[in-house]
């Protein structure tokens, strides 16, 4: 029994988020197992992004509970949750566009860096070594996504195209070696082919990091089918179905509410 | 004729900001003094006036005074309208041993806080204005006063001496109000004053606020006698409040009217002839006198700071257009003649010559 419960990395119990009279999440119970890739799908406005927001501490829950491992993070501030090993991307790109790619990626590694004033201002040598280490790691990660990207490490993020910005965001989420990564529509705006590539990249990196748990929100069913171990389908803030993608996709309720006839 | 040596002297006053009319009036008058002096055939030197704006701010004052004081080619200065600025700069004049004659600032501390040989002042100090004013009001039989002053050092000092002399005379002060000089709406204060119902409102501040006070008093139907000081002396007050409202306003000011001054008519005519578009304002003649005094001293002892300082210290009964000038051991002119004025038909008139004395017109609330 204990081994089973330690198997669950994140669980939400009766999680509710309200905006005025609107229930964006309604008594939601979701378990995320250690090391799995969980697909979160559902119609527009069903609460997927809200779920990611509330577990990463951006929104606060109106009711219910979220446990990360054994820690109750329901009322925790976002920065504390992050230090438990959680990172994410955003549905709408949130890079600091005027900063360099490197600065943006370094943010992802923030919790592993030495932020002391003494270290940063006075011990410039050791600071430089640290910066060099992050730069090397960032180059390595970027290289996996796009061999041309490492050369743009010190270009401002605004000079990148949309796709490359998404890639940088994913790198930012991965560089801090998190336990749990939340990806919100990583493939939006890409062609099928490009989507496939991103999938491969994510899977590759997951392998190289080992034991990374991912929650992925997508409307691109091909991607979901290929990467997820398990899917949860939301509608109106409620879980309407859960299971392997193939089973979920066959569910008539899901077809009716989400997939359409295709 | 051969070319005369050039000698530079400096004028400092507020040329920008709300009280710049006074500064500009002073500057014009000082300029006039220089012009007239240079036109005289028998002078030894040709004078040049360096004009600087202190914005009526102490830190700017310190800057510009450092500038002129450390410029050895400038022999002496005629500085400051604002007292806080003058208080801040006297140390610098002393440090650089530059003689100066204050033309308008009125706080006692400028000359009396320390005994600097370089520091002199032709204008009076505000103590006299308030003493005379309090006596005057007592003589008319007024008993109940309200004090309304601005929150600057000027207003605060005015209020201090007003309070002192009024209480000494056994009169009553129903309330004291202090507002920032840029406050526009006085309704809260005036409503309170209306409730207190004083016979006299004493105003310690400068024209803009004074005009505002007078205008808004009328709007609230407050029918008290308004009593002011050198700060509202001048045409600007009458223009801004309008002749009807200004009528009957009293002030106590440290000099007789131009027409009464020994050289007053000459000054007025020359000022007009010079074609300045701004009026000299109340302290213009003092600026003229200070400038003239400095130049006369230079004529006498030569363009040397130390000698000028020494000679200025000995000024006694020196004739000038505002009357004889005598400096005491602190360099303070002790001769200014505080005169009472009243507005009559849109003009400041010496009290003794007004129709108010004859009883043809009446001050307000006379018991």
């Amino acid at each position: 029994m204990t081994s089973l419960s330690s198997d669950v990395l994140l669980e939400s119990r009766g999680l509710t988020v309200r905006f005025g009279g609107l229930f964006a999440l309604n008594e939601l119970n979701i378990d995320v197992r250690n090391g799995e890739v969980l697909g979160l799908i559902g119609p527009n406005g069903s609460g997927k992004t809200t779920f990611l927001n509330v577990i990463s501490g951006v929104y606060s829950a109106s009711a219910g509970k979220i446990l990360l491992g054994d820690i109750d993070i329901t009322r925790e501030k976002a920065h504390n949750i992050s230090s438990c090993g959680l990172s994410r991307t955003f549905q709408r790109s949130r890079l600091c566009l005027s900063l360099s790619v490197f600065d943006n990626i370094a943010l992802g590694a923030q919790r592993t860096l030495n932020n002391g004033l003494w270290h940063n201002i006075v011990q410039r040598k050791s600071f430089a070594a640290e910066a060099q280490k992050i730069a090397d790691e960032a180059r390595e990660l970027l290289h996996v996504f796009n061999p041309a990207l490492p050369d743009k490490l010190f270009d401002p993020a605004i000079s990148l195209g949309m796709i490359d910005r998404r890639r940088v965001e994913i790198c930012r989420a991965l560089i801090g070696k998190p336990k749990l990564v939340l990806l919100d529509e990583p493939s939006a705006g890409m062609t099928h082919d490009e989507t496939d590539q991103v999938v491969d990249e994510i899977l590759g990196i997951r392998k190289s990091l080992g034991g990374l748990t991912i929650i992925i929100v997508e409307h691109e069913m091909g991607l979901i089918e290929r990467v997820t171990d398990r899917c949860v389908v939301l509608n109106y803030g409620k879980k309407i179905c859960e299971g392997k993608f193939r089973d979920v996709a066959a569910d008539p309720v899901v077809r009716e509410a989400y997939l359409g006839q295709a | 004729a051969f070319a005369k040596d050039k000698v530079k002297i400096a004028f400092v006053g507020p040329l920008t900001g709300a009280i710049s009319p006074h500064g500009i009036g002073g500057r014009n008058s000082a300029e006039l003094a220089v012009k007239l002096m240079n036109a005289e055939p028998n002078t030894k030197y040709e004078y040049e006036l360096v004009v600087l704006d202190d914005e009526c701010k102490p830190n700017v004052g310190v800057q510009v005074v450092t500038k002129i004081a450390s410029d050895r080619s400038i022999i002496a200065a005629i500085p400051h309208y604002c007292s806080a600025t003058a208080i801040a700069t006297v140390d610098i004049f002393n440090r650089f041993k530059m003689p100066m004659v204050v033309w308008a600032a009125v706080l006692p501390e400028i000359t009396y806080a320390k005994k600097y040989p370089e520091v002199h002042r032709v204008s009076g100090i505000l103590i006299g204005q308030n003493r005379i004013g309090a006596q005057f009001m007592k003589a008319r039989g007024y008993k109940k006063f309200v004090s309304f002053a601005d929150s600057t050092d000027y207003g605060k000092s005015m209020n201090k001496y007003f309070t002192q002399f009024t209480l000494e005379n056994g009169n009553e002060i129903l309330g004291s109000f202090s507002v920032p000089p840029d406050q526009q709406d006085l309704s809260a204060e005036l409503t309170k004053i209306k409730e207190l119902n004083p016979e006299v409102i004493y105003f310690g501040g400068l024209t803009p606020l004074g005009a505002r006070l007078r205008t808004q008093m009328a709007k609230f139907g407050i029918n008290a006698q308004l009593e002011g000081n050198s700060g509202i002396m001048g045409d600007a007050f009458v223009n801004a409040a309008g002749p009807e409202l200004a009528e009957g306003t009293l002030t106590f000011f440290d000099s007789p009217p131009l027409s009464k001054m020994p050289g007053g008519k000459m000054f007025a005519d020359a000022y007009k002839a010079a074609g300045y578009s701004e009026p000299p304002e109340a302290y213009g003649p003092f600026a003229y006198v200070a400038t003239r005094l400095v130049m006369e001293t230079i004529e006498k002892v030569g363009p040397d700071r130390a000698k000028v300082t020494a000679d200025l210290g000995d000024v006694k009964d020196r004739p000038s257009i505002v009357g004889p000038v005598t400096f005491d051991d602190h360099g303070q002119n002790i001769t200014p003649l505080t005169t009472s004025y009243v507005v009559q038909d849109g003009k400041w008139v010496v009290w003794e010559e007004s129709e108010y004395v004859s009883g043809k017109r009446k001050l307000k609330n006379l018991p």
């Binding site: 905006f19 559902g42 119609p43 527009n44 406005g45 069903s46 992004t49 809200t50 549905q91 709408r92 796009n146 061999p147 041309a148 195209g161 949309m162 796709i163 529509e185 939006a188 705006g189 890409m190 062609t191 099928h192 082919d193 490009e194 590539q197 409307h219 069913m221 509410a257 989400y258 997939l259 359409g260 006839q261 295709a262 | -």
Partner: protein, 239 residues
């Protein structure tokens, strides 16, 4: 039939390098014309050039025989061109309904506006539910609906659509293509940019494939769908 747009040999650049070099297209009235191409090929830039948001530095564009080369964007729109821009670009601080009303800025009769609002609400019931919600707080897909709805608020001769289905659920992606087809059936000429090649080609009449700022293939949709070369070229330019 109206809505004839011709683009002749245009060159467009943002800073220095040309993003479009010598593009010519012809949007036939009453037809759906689609532009395909990988990311960064210059599709959105083409649309920006047509609307003169990023004016081309050479070449000319004409709408119904009238040259657009000296016009300002709002004048071009006034000729009867509507656009659903890339990235939704909704007005976040306005309510959903206000967003739709801005879409109908050039329509003067309040009655027409009301009627069109009704039509949009019919297609997207979610928008009706949320008419008073600030558009910025809507979910990603809901914002896409606002953007599409806003484009439907005028009665354009030519509708230009740039990747409208981004972030929409599969159900609405289908719905979206249906809308485009239905609008076209009422006589609106459509210029469509989409990533979803198969579905796009299913409804389009004619298409162009863009790669690195040049048109590499053009033809009717059946031909494009079959053309292997096109498929590989289209998928090729990802990097």
């Amino acid at each position: 039939m109206s809505g004839h747009l011709t683009v002749e040999n245009i060159f467009t650049a943002y800073d220095r390098a040309d993003v479009l070099s010598g593009i010519s297209i012809d949007v036939q009235p009453g037809k759906i014309t689609c532009i395909l191409g990988s990311n960064g090929a210059g599709k959105s830039t083409l649309i920006r050039s047509i609307l003169r948001l990023t004016p081309p530095r050479a070449g000319s564009i004409a709408f119904e025989g009238k040259t657009l080369d000296q016009m300002a964007t709002h004048e071009i729109v006034g000729l009867g061109i509507a656009c659903i821009p890339e990235g939704r670009r909704i007005f976040a601080k306005m309510t959903v309904e206000e967003n739709l009303r801005v879409g109908a800025y050039l329509v003067n009769a309040e009655k027409t506006v009301k009627a069109r609002l009704g039509k949009v609400y019919e297609v997207f019931p979610r928008l009706k539910e949320r008419a008073k919600q600030l558009a910025g707080t809507m979910s990603g897909g809901e914002q896409a609906m606002v953007s599409i709805g806003r484009g439907m608020m005028t009665d354009p001769k030519l509708l230009i659509i740039d990747e409208p289905s981004l972030g929409l659920s599969p159900l609405f992606v289908q719905e979206n293509f249906n809308i485009v087809r239905r609008l076209n059936e009422t006589g609106v000429t459509v210029l469509l940019v989409e990533q979803n090649v198969n579905q796009t080609l299913a409804i389009a009449h004619y298409g162009y494939v863009l790669s690195q700022g040049k048109i590499i293939v053009q033809g009717d949709s059946e031909m494009l769908a079959k053309n292997e070369e096109v498929q590989s070229a289209y998928f090729g330019g990802a990097h």
